[in-house]
Each structure stands twice: as structure tokens, then as C-alpha cells.
């Protein structure tokens, strides 16, 4: 086999050294700075973009959080105001109710007093009339008129019985 013929070894090794060295120089001079550089900068760009995206996401989350906190606070405040207002209104209306009730009660009392007075007056009037009628009737019927105070007393007694 020609592979084991040492005569060709020096030339093969010589040209192998030359061409392999050329290829190595090519990789070092052309591939590493060019391709390696651009791939490195691409990786850097991707990493930077990812970092930026993560940063923006964190900021968005923070903004959402603070917005929600503000919202919750505003809602709490609104509820407190609502409660306060409702309490105030109920307090006010209660006070007015009481006031009106008092006025009405006073008027009722007054009215009742007036009615009682009127009724006593009327009863007194009836008593007088009844006594007068008694005196007149006894005079006409028996020829002798009863005394007025006695008539009154008997009218009183009859009325007390009727009640």
C-alpha cells in the first residue's frame, strides 16, 4: 500500500504543516474576529435586551402595585366618607324627628287641656240648666219651688250615678 511507503512522508508532512498552518491563520485572523465577534455581540445584544425587558417588567409590576394601593386607599376613603355622611344624616333626621315629636306632643297636650276645660265648662252649664229646670219643674208641679242649692246637689248626685 502507498500509505506505508516512507518516500512520500517528507512531502506529505511538509505540505500538511504549510496548509494546516494556513488554515489556522485563517481561523485566527478571519473567523475569530469576524464571526466570533459578531456572534459575541449578538449574544450581548440578546442578553442586554432580555435584561432591559426584565427591568421594564419589574417597573410595570411596581407601577401596577402602587396603582392598586392607591385604588384601595381611595376606595377605603370613599367608604369612610359614605359612612360618616350616612351617620350624620341619620343623626340629623333623628334630632328633627324628636323636635317635631315634642312640638306635636305639646300641642296635643294643649288641645287635650282645652277640650277638658271646654267639657268641664259644658258640664257645669248642663248642671246649672238641670238645676234651673229642676227648680222650675218642682215649682210648676208641686206649687212650691225647691231650693236651688238642694237641686244642684241632687243633680250632682244623679250625674255621679249616671257616670
Amino acid at each position: 500500500m502507498p500509505q506505508f511507503d516512507p518516500a512520500s512522508f517528507p512531502s506529505q508532512l511538509f505540505w500538511l504543516a504549510i496548509f494546516f498552518f494556513l488554515l489556522y491563520r485563517l481561523v485566527v485572523k478571519l473567523v475569530m474576529p469576524g464571526l466570533g465577534g459578531v456572534m459575541e455581540s449578538r449574544q450581548r445584544t440578546i442578553d442586554e435586551d432580555l435584561a432591559k425587558a426584565a427591568d421594564l417588567k419589574a417597573r410595570t409590576d411596581a407601577a401596577i402595585e402602587s396603582y392598586e394601593a392607591a385604588l384601595a386607599e381611595a376606595r377605603g376613603k370613599a367608604q369612610a366618607i359614605l359612612r360618616e355622611t350616612a351617620e350624620e344624616i341619620s343623626r340629623e333626621s333623628e334630632a328633627r324627628n324628636r323636635e317635631v315629636g315634642e312640638v306635636l306632643a305639646r300641642r296635643i297636650d294643649e288641645g287635650e287641656a282645652r277640650i277638658a276645660a271646654a267639657r268641664a265648662e259644658a258640664l257645669d252649664g248642663v248642671k246649672d240648666v238641670a238645676a234651673d229646670v229642676t227648680v222650675a219643674l218642682t215649682g210648676k208641679l208641686m206649687g212650691e219651688a225647691a231650693a236651688l242649692p238642694a237641686a244642684r246637689a241632687s243633680v250632682d248626685a244623679v250625674m255621679r250615678e249616671a257616670r
Binding site: Q3, S8, P10, F19, F20, L30, V31, G37
Partner: protein, 241 residues
């Protein structure tokens, strides 16, 4: 019918002699020139208009770069990237050497033991030097596996030394034998096609087609194996085991 080993004959193209030593530019040298030229063409075209978003040629060039870079990163780690240019050049040289060898009429320089042997020897020496530079005399611990009982040392150490020293042989013979045998097989089968004529030759012809596909696969695979073993040896030298 031509002798199947004739295809490995070194033929001078430009005879050069330095004293008694023959340094002729041969068909083997021409094949090396093609492999280097193809690599140069690929990376010249791939880096002409560099952009963050790669074009067609740049993508192809990056494919090669990424493939070998990942191999080095996975097998050697970050420190291994210092030696990436050498490993990348090695891969391109063997890969294009093997594949261009599949072009009919072109010489396969990786089918010569002196070429694969020289590459393997350079790798072996470089790896050993790197190992001693990083670990000093401690690199000799390579020859005694960590945690093995001390009584096994008389057996283990010679075995480890032999396995270490046989690395350049297995590395070079694997590539050389694969390339040589593949090409001989193709030549013999193709000889049958001619010998058996139009009717009988159909069977070996189909076989030749199949073997040709297989040989393309082996050409790529052996380049990969050659380089990944280099990475594994380098990893041993850098991290021990």
C-alpha cells in the same frame, strides 16, 4: 481492472527536491489546498457582510462555528475556548479533507497514516504539555484513578500509562483506516459493476450507491469523532479525571 489501492498513490505534480529529501507538491498537497481553499471561501463569503441578523452565507459559516464551539464548551468547558481556534481548524481540515475525498478523482489526504498520525501526535503532545503546565507534576496522577485502592497500583498504573500512550495511535489509525477501507470498498464494488456488465452489474451498482451514501456519512462522522476525542483529551488535561 485497476488495483483498488492505486487511488492512494502519491503522484508529484510539481517536483521539488531539497537535497536528498523529496518535498514535491503532490496530489495529496493539492487536496489539502482544496480543503483549505474551501474553508477560506466559506469564511470569506460568510464574513464579507457581517450583520447581527445573519445572511445565508453567514448562517452557514456560523453553523460550523457554533457546532464546534458547542462541542468544545460541552466537553471542555469555558477554559477550553482558549484552544478553540486550533480545534476549529482541525475540524475544518479533517471534515473538508474527508468530504472532498468523496469527489471522484480527488485525493483523500486523510487516508494516509502519516497525515493522521502527524495530526494525532501534535494533539497528543499539545495535550500533554497543557496538562503538565496546568497541574505540574500532579498531572502524573492521571495514571492512578482517584479513590482506587493503593494495592491495585502495580496493575493500574501500567494499564493507565499504556492507555494514555495509545491515544495518538487509536486517534490516527481510526481516521486513516475508516477513510482507506471506505475508498477501497467503493473501488472494489465499482470494479464489479464493470466486470459483470450491464445486466449483472445492476446489483453491485445499487450497492455502490448505498456505500457512497454511507461513505459521506462516515466522512462527516469521522471528522466529528476525531475532534470530539481531541476535546475529551483536552478536558482530561485541563480538569484531570
Amino acid at each position: 481492472m485497476a488495483n483498488p489501492v492505486e487511488q492512494f498513490q502519491i503522484e508529484p505534480i510539481v517536483p521539488i527536491a531539497v537535497g536528498p529529501i523529496d518535498l514535491s507538491f503532490t496530489n495529496s498537497s493539492l487536496a489539502m489546498a482544496f480543503a483549505v481553499g474551501l474553508s477560506a471561501a466559506l469564511f470569506y463569503a460568510g464574513t464579507r457582510r457581517l450583520s447581527l441578523v445573519p445572511g445565508r452565507m453567514q448562517s452557514l459559516a456560523e453553523l460550523f462555528y457554533e457546532f464546534v464551539a458547542n462541542m468544545v464548551r460541552d466537553n471542555v468547558g469555558k477554559e477550553g475556548m482558549r484552544y478553540f481556534p486550533f480545534i476549529f481548524a482541525l475540524f475544518l481540515f479533517v471534515f473538508f479533507g474527508n468530504l472532498l475525498g468523496m469527489v471522484p478523482g480527488n485525493f483523500t489526504f486523510t487516508s494516509h497514516i502519516v497525515v493522521t498520525g502527524a495530526l494525532a501526535l501534535v494533539i497528543f503532545i499539545a495535550v500533554t504539555v497543557i496538562g503538565f503546565m496546568r497541574h505540574g507534576v500532579g498531572y502524573l496522577r492521571m495514571f492512578f484513578p482517584h479513590g482506587a485502592p493503593i494495592a491495585t497500583a502495580p496493575i493500574l498504573i501500567p494499564i493507565e500509562i499504556i492507555s494514555y500512550l495509545s491515544r495518538p495511535f487509536s486517534l490516527s489509525v481510526r481516521l486513516f483506516a475508516n477513510m482507506t477501507v471506505g475508498h477501497i470498498m467503493l473501488k472494489v464494488l465499482a470494479g464489479f459493476v464493470v466486470a459483470l456488465g450491464v445486466v449483472g452489474g445492476v446489483v453491485p451498482f445499487v450497492a455502490v450507491i448505498g456505500v457512497t451514501v454511507l461513505e459521506f456519512f462516515i466522512a462527516a462522522l469521522q471528522a466529528y469523532v476525531f475532534v470530539i476525542l481531541t476535546c475529551i483529551y483536552l478536558n482530561d488535561a485541563i480538569h484531570m479525571h
